[in-house]
Structures are given as C-alpha cells and as structure tokens.
C-alpha cells in the first residue's frame, strides 16, 4: 500500500521535481505538496482504489501528513474496520 500511495502522490501531486524521490515519512504539508485541491484529488483516489469512504471530519492533518500517515488512515478505514477508525 505504501508503494501504491507513494507512486500516486509522486506522479500526480508533487509539483517540484526536487522533492523526488519522495520518502514515506516526508511531510506533505511542510513541503507544500498537499494543498486543498490536491487533498480532494487524493481523497477521490483513495476512495476508488481502496473502496473506503472518507468523511469530512476525517480531513485532518494527522491523517494526511505523510504517505505513512495516509496508509495508517486507510488501513483503519478499510471495509470491516470502520469501528476501529472511529475509536
């Protein structure tokens, strides 16, 4: 999952080539990679690729700060694990 998400972010969202290759723990916020528009594109991608539903209350820095953070969030939200994510 880390590879899939890192590939997507690197290919679709990273504007500045100097930020590549992207480490899984690189901050997507401090580097400016994730702006409000890219966040929405990423959400659409995650929903389609992993079959999860991202609620507006989940759109928080903690869940999207890095590739690792996104993976942690998606794992908790995958079908059958919704309860864990809410807790």
């Amino acid at each position: 999952m880390e590879t899939v998400i890192n590939d997507y972010v690197s290919r679709e969202l990273v504007q500045d080539p100097r930020l590549l290759p992207l480490a899984d723990d690189t901050s997507l916020l401090e580097t400016g990679i994730l702006d409000s528009l890219n966040l929405l594109r990423l959400v659409v991608f995650l929903e389609e690729r992993f079959g999860i539903a991202v609620g507006d209350a989940d759109l928080l820095p903690d869940n999207f700060a890095s590739v690792n953070a996104i993976c942690g969030y998606v794992r908790a939200r995958e079908p059958g694990k919704q309860e864990a994510a809410r807790g």
Partner: protein, 509 residues
C-alpha cells in the same frame, strides 16, 4: 494626504502605533513596528544601490516579514514584483529577468531559494533578507520613496500570457490606492477588524488584505499554509482567530461549505464574506449561505488589469439556479459593454464586451507596448478627446435590474481556482518538448474546481513520450494550476478547413 501606498502605513502608525497590523502564526507586528521595520528595509535597499523607479522582486509567502518587505520597497521609491515561491525555477528567473529586478527581497526561510534564483539571472541581483537587518530606521536622510508621485509604479503582477511567457501588469500607486480606499469603505473595515485573504501576494486579491486593512488600521491575519489544505482546519482557524472579513476565490469557499463542518464552529465574528476571481457555482454558494447565514456576501469582479471594477451584494435567497451577477460599477469607476458591431449595450438582454474606465485601470504591460495597445484603447464613445479605457475581453449581458452578468471570454483564457490561464501559454510549454509535434489544450468544466485542463497531443512517435513524461516536462515550465490534468495522445490533431486545430471538434470528442 495619502497619495502613495506607503502613506497608508505611516498614517496608521502615527494614529495607532500599538495596534496589530499583521498576525501570522507566532510572528506579529504592530503598526509602529511594521513602519520602522519597512523603513529599515528601505534603507538597506538604498544601501544596496536600489534607485527610484527600480523593480525589486519579492520572494516570500504572505507574512509580517513579507509585508515589511513590500512597504520597504515602496519607501525606497522602487516597485515590487511579487514572485510565486512555488513556481518552477525557470519561470521565476524569467520574471526576475523580464522585470530587470535590481534586488531580491526574501525572508529567512527562502534565503537559499533566493540565492539560487539570483545565481540564475544575469548580473545576479543582490539579496536582502528582511529578518536580519542591522540598519537603524531613524536617520536624517530622507527616503527616496518620498519623492515618488502617484503615477509611479507600485507593483507588477505577472499573469499568464497567450504567447507563451507571463506578462507583467503594471499597477501604479494611484491604481492600487483607488481600489484599496473603495474596498475598505465598501467592506466597512475598521480598526477592530481581523481580515484574511488566503491569496498569495502575486495574486491581486491580496491587495485587499494588505492595503485596505492598512487604510482602515485593521489587522491582516495570515492563514497558515498547513491550515489552508484542510477545510476543517480553516474553519478551526477562523473561529480561533476571530476573523471578521474573508476574501477569497469561490473554490475555497466551496470546499469550506462542503467539507468544513461549519456548523460545529462559532463563526459569529465573521461578518463579511467576499469572493472574486471566478464564477461561484450557484448550488455551492447557496449551500454556503445556508450553512453560514449571518455574514454579508459580496461578489466582486475585475481582472488584474483593473482590480475590482464591479460589485454585487448577494441577498438571502438570491443564490439559486443561475450564477449571481457581477453587479454594477464601483464608485469612481465606469463600466460599459460594447456589441461586436461597436454599439453601446443599453437594452436588457444585450450582450457585449465589458470596458472599464477609472483610476484603477493599469498603466500597461511591462515592456510590451504593442500588447498594451491591444487592450488599453481609445474610448470609442468619446470623439472630442482621447481617453484610454480597458477592454476586458469578458463578455457580459445587461440584466433588467441594471446589473451586468458574466457570460464568458472572447479569447482562450480560462480560470482555474481564480488563476488566469492562457491556453496558448500551456500549449507553448508543450511545444518545447522535442517529441511533441502538435498540441491543443482545452478546458474541461469541473463542478468543484471551475475548470480542468485537457491536453491533446500528437507526437513524433518517440516511445518515451508518455503521460508522465509530458507532466514532468510541463512542471519545469508551468505553475501547478497550469499543468494539464488529462493527457491524450492522437496520431494527428483534427483541423478545420482553414487549417486551424479544430477545437470545437476536440471539445465534443
């Protein structure tokens, strides 16, 4: 009498030195501090050899340091050129070269980027970091900016140019001050207000929070970059910072309305919401006004070349099926529409191109007199003397209420999140790729974003011309909002009988 932009600051500092001028994260500056800080910047610039009339590039996100920097440039009698810190290096060095910048002003965090930029430009302009100045603000020597007149340039804003390179819109002190004063009065700004526009300094929406706030002695509050990504974070910040006036492009307000969870927050301090830069999709405006019913909602319209020239206040229940009108002319400004056969639009329902006359109309495009003459034209309805008016290129209709309604463009410019994008500039960037033979870029309407860009490409057959390669190539030349979202490959592009690329045909494919 305030006739230069920096007079707004010196007057506010004399009136209320201890009140907050800029609040940005942990860093804040009062009017007194900002006034002294900017004078230090001006003295340091003069010491570096900056002379009246020079251009000085400004590489810094909006902050107390950046605002001190821009006022410092003005106090030195120079004109500032705000750069987009996120733009590709080649584009930044083009703007620095094209404007002939005599120096680059930056903040601590961008000092390395500024050094790389300066090294990339012939003559390597000197760099001034606003955070580390050892110059006394007090001195007997008068600042060069005190000799400036209102017709002198205050700043140059670079926007997308149809011929492949950005063009610099020249704004004088008079131009900007006329807007700042009108806008401060229109929004009813006072010293208690906390004003936010998330627009960066190279985008003309920021003229409002920088200069109108100063005119009123209000506080400019800077939305932290990380918070701007997450709608809920923006709402949290609006509540915590007790923001009273907001000015942004509609797409950000759409995100707030849809994903901001606005009802969970106490936004009772927010009394005025202003939007500009693109059409607000009516259903999202209605949703925003339902989620947040108490503020005034104002739709402001105007290209960078004139700043705001018309305004419309949206009353409750007016946001519905059709986009709200752009309204009527601001005070001290006249707008009129001209039909394709040169008649003045006077009947409701008639369509024409919008023209603007007034003190906010730009001085022209930097170094591009021919291009300037295409848009700053003699008023066709004034036979007795020559008066220059601005042709917006925007098509409007006159409504029965006397308001104008926006219809579209007469050329191939589109808006993406409020940013102007000339399709020709994107195409020119594509053509720089050696394996691209033909290219056409078309806007694809997008409900949430306004438009997305679709590139249709015919290559030379080189195997390495992939979508990723095209995007990577574009990112070397274009800022993010100009990079196409969709890339398609064709053997060849369809042509009309006159040999032009058949855009209408491609658009319906």
């Amino acid at each position: 009498m305030a006739y230069l932009l920096q007079h707004l600051l010196t007057e506010a500092a004399a009136r209320q030195p201890g009140r907050p001028a800029v609040a940005s994260g942990d860093a804040a500056a009062t009017y007194g501090e900002l006034d002294r800080w900017s004078t230090q910047v001006a003295r340091a610039l003069l010491r570096l050899g900056v002379a009246p009339g020079d251009r000085v590039a400004l590489l810094a996100p909006k902050s107390a340091a950046a605002v001190a920097g821009l006022y410092g440039v003005l106090k030195a009698g120079a004109c500032y050129v705000p750069l987009d810190p996120k733009a590709p290096a080649d584009r930044l060095s083009y703007v620095v070269r094209d404007s002939g910048a005599a120096a680059i002003v930056t903040d601590d965090a961008r000092a390395a980027q500024a050094a790389a930029l300066a090294a990339d430009v012939p003559g390597s302009p000197p760099i001034l970091v606003t955070g580390s100045l050892d110059v006394a603000a007090e001195s007997e020597v008068p600042l060069a900016g005190e000799r400036a007149i209102e017709n002198d340039l205050a700043y140059i804003l670079y926007t997308s140019g149809s011929t492949g390179t950005p063009k610099g819109v020249m704004i004088s002190h008079r131009n900007s001050l006329a807007f700042a004063e009108w806008a401060a009065a229109e929004a009813g700004l006072g010293e208690q207000d906390r004003v936010c526009s998330p627009a960066p300094l190279h985008f003309d929406l920021s003229v409002f929070d920088v200069f109108s706030s100063c005119r009123a002695g209000a506080c400019l509050a800077v939305l932290p970059e990380g918070a701007a990504t997450f709608p809920v974070s923006i709402a949290t910040w609006l509540e915590r910072e007790r923001i009273s006036v907001w000015y942004s492009v509609p797409s950000l307000l759409t995100l707030l309305a849809c994903f901001g969870g606005l009802q969970r927050f106490d936004l009772s301090r927010l009394r005025t919401v202003i939007f500009a830069g693109e059409v607000f999709p009516p259903k999202y405006l209605a949703r925003l006004m339902a989620e947040l019913p108490h503020p005034r909602y104002l739709n402001w319209y105007g290209p960078t070349e004139t700043n705001v020239c018309t305004a419309f206040e949206v009353r409750k229940g007016e946001a519905g099926d059709a986009p709200v009108p752009i309204g009527t002319a601001c005070a001290n400004t006249e707008v009129f529409a001209v039909t394709p056969d040169g008649r003045l639009v006077s009947e409701p329902g008639e369509e024409g191109e919008l023209y603007v006359r007034g003190p906010t109309v730009m001085r022209g495009y930097w170094g591009q007199q021919a291009k300037t003459r295409e848009v700053l034209v003699t008023n066709p309805f004034r036979a007795e003397y020559d008066e220059l008016v601005y042709r917006t290129g925007d098509l409007v209709t006159l409504e029965p209420t006397g308001d104008y309604a926006y219809v579209g463009r007469r050329d191939s410019m589109v808006k993406i999140r409020g940013y102007r994008v000339e399709l020709g500039e994107v195409e020119a960037a594509l053509y720089r790729h050696p394996a691209i033979r033909e290219a056409a870029v078309l806007p694809v309407p997008d409900e949430l974003l306004g438009s997305r860009l679709r590139a249709v490409i015919a290559g030379t057959g080189a195997a390495d011309l992939t979508r990723d390669a095209v995007l990577e190539h574009c990112r070397q030349w274009l800022p993010g909002y100009m990079v196409p979202d969709l890339v398609e490959f064709r053997e060849t592009l369809p042509r009309t009988s006159t040999g032009k690329v058949d855009r209408a045909g491609l658009a319906t494919d």
